[in-house]
């Protein structure tokens, strides 16, 4: 039985991967956009780090690496939204969700598997090329140690789970609000501001920086980038993972509680 369910979610994940793999033109277009923005940001970061070398504990190569990592991870962590949560909210609004609840699969795990498949495709489809272009055109800090690359991948995975868990909670809000667009909008704003895609959180001044680094959104870009740059090694690395895993668990659990409450609500509403 256990093996069976494992296989089920693996199939769902593979489906998520294949589904995004079919959008070839869209993927190429996304790579193009991420690369263009990477160039624009890279030049502004050069101007900033020319003025203040070593800002936030990064040298210029670190800062430029940060730019290209964040462009590569934007789609993976779905920072700008527009992933499964729109579809899930639609299903809640139309009542199709009732069908999903009858399925012999767990709602949260089902969507998580699909989203991880999507993220895996985005990492290959939209992550590799901008990073390669960035490495060709600028001096970047690329880890020599294969262990750092593996550590980075694990951080990306954990960041994606945190991102999923946030978006799952956002989507479930539609059970109570009917139209989850407002909540989705707020989550999107917070993601843009606190993930590190706007500017490395290490550059945020004082208390604002401390708050930003403590919020779950920093698990999506800031933490994986620091792992890639070798800023988190040894105990620090374990600390970074603990931070990501802690938020992932807390948010997944919140989603689970909401899911339970929502399921009872569906029965009350009659779908």
């Amino acid at each position: 039985m256990y093996v069976h369910t494992g296989r089920l979610y693996a199939t769902v994940a593979a489906g998520g991967f294949r589904r995004y793999a079919t959008y070839r033109t869209a993927t190429a277009a996304g790579v193009f956009t991420n690369t263009v923005f990477g160039f624009i940001l890279a030049y502004t970061y050069i101007a900033l780090w020319d003025e203040r070398p070593g800002l936030g504990g990064y040298d210029q190569a670190d800062a430029l690496t940060f730019v290209w990592i964040s462009q590569g991870l934007l789609a993976v962590a779905s920072v700008l939204g527009g992933g499964f949560e729109d579809e899930l909210m639609d299903r809640i609004r139309t009542g199709d969700i009732a069908v999903d609840l009858y399925r012999p699969a767990d709602l949260q795990l089902w969507w998580l598997a699909g989203d991880l498949g999507r993220a895996a495709f985005q990492l290959l489809g939209r992550g590799v090329v901008p990073m390669a272009v960035g490495a060709l055109c600028f001096t970047l800090t690329l880890p020599a140690d294969p262990f750092t690359w593996l550590a980075f991948l694990l951080a990306v995975l954990l960041g994606t789970v945190v991102s999923f868990a946030i978006r799952f909670v956002v989507a479930l809000s539609a059970f109570w609000l009917m139209d989850g667009a407002g909540v989705a909008q707020i989550a999107f704003l917070a993601g843009v501001f606190f993930s590190g895609m706007l500017l490395p959180l290490a550059v945020f001044p004082g208390t604002l920086g401390e708050i930003a680094r403590a919020l779950p959104w920093s698990a999506m870009i800031q933490v994986p980038a620091d792992v890639f740059l070798g800023k988190s090694t040894g105990t620090d690395l374990l600390g970074a993972y603990a931070f990501q895993a802690g938020w992932a668990l807390a948010l997944l659990l919140t989603g689970r509680l909401l899911q339970g409450a929502a399921t009872r609500r569906v029965v009350v509403q009659g779908g």
Partner: protein, 280 residues
């Protein structure tokens, strides 16, 4: 009879287009206003999200006093001018980026059989009044720059300010329409358009001194984004442009805008003619 209005002059077509545009936008505004609280929230969200770029610049200036040799008010002038121009076009034409989706799902065909210019219909489609947020935000920052900066105003500098905002809007309009025409071919490549529209406005928020010289040449002579704000604003600030140009060049911005719009119009017509329905 092949094609509506083929025998009519260009002015009649323009009038028809504007009329259709007005009718469709009014319809969307009415529908938006049905849920006023929701509209107020989305307007606010638009204002906040478009401010993030400037917040990033403010965060940078919390660490430094100048960026690429420019002070915060000087960058605010560049930002406000580009943001206001872009906001005007994003409000008026921002919906054209949905063209690819319409080509894909076949709903473009519905627009082709209606007796109104397709461009007007596509531009007015789902007209989003919340995009006023970006214009307000851009204008506020432009106002902040003008109040803070110590500019020695001359009649020419005063004249170039409105020319800058309007020409900038014209150039962005050309980029939007040209990008939409590209989607006739590329269908689901809406993000390529974003690279030029949102990417363009993001680049123009920073001084040209920040960017590589070849990039500056490219957006001066090839895709004339530099005429949106860099050239006129640097004239107002009395700063040299990184590429050597005669001093009257900033005043050609309106001509550049007209030429860009004409080119975009031709590309649009070519795209529309090349369009073959997906048949779905």
């Amino acid at each position: 009879m092949s094609g509506f209005g083929e025998r009519e002059g260009p002015w009649t077509r323009l009038r028809d287009g504007l009329r259709a545009y007005r009718l469709i936008t009014v319809m969307w505004i009415r529908s938006t206003m049905t849920y006023r609280a929701s509209f107020a929230m989305s307007l606010f969200a638009n204002l906040v999200v478009t401010s993030f770029d400037f917040v990033a610049i403010l965060l940078m200036f919390s660490q430094v006093d100048s960026l690429g040799g420019y002070t915060l008010p000087e960058i605010a002038l560049l930002y406000g001018a580009a943001g206001t121009s872009f906001g005007l076009v994003d409000l008026a034409l921002g919906s054209v980026d949905r063209l690819g989706r319409r080509v894909r799902d076949g709903t473009l065909d519905t627009l082709l059989v209606r007796p109104a210019p397709v461009l007007a219909q596509v531009a007015a489609d789902r007209f989003a009044l919340r995009r006023l947020g970006r214009i307000v935000q851009g204008a506020l920052i432009l106002g902040y720059a003008l109040v803070t900066l110590d500019i020695e105003w001359t009649p020419l500098k005063v004249l170039i300010m409105p020319l800058m905002v309007l020409s900038g809007a014209g150039i962005f309009a050309a980029v939007f329409v040209g990008g939409a025409a590209f989607q006739f071919l590329a269908k689901d490549a809406a993000e390529v358009q974003s690279a030029f529209t949102y990417g363009g406005v993001t680049m123009l928020q920073y001084p040209p001194a920040v960017f590589a010289l070849d990039l500056v040449r490219g957006v001066t002579f090839v895709l004339p984004l530099a005429f949106v704000n860099w050239l006129p604003a640097l004239y107002v600030l009395g700063r040299p442009y990184p590429v050597d140009l005669p001093p009257w060049v900033p005043f050609t911005a309106p001509l550049v805008a007209i030429a860009a719009c004409a080119a975009a119009g031709l590309v649009w017509r070519a795209g529309l003619r090349a369009y073959r329905s997906t048949g779905s």
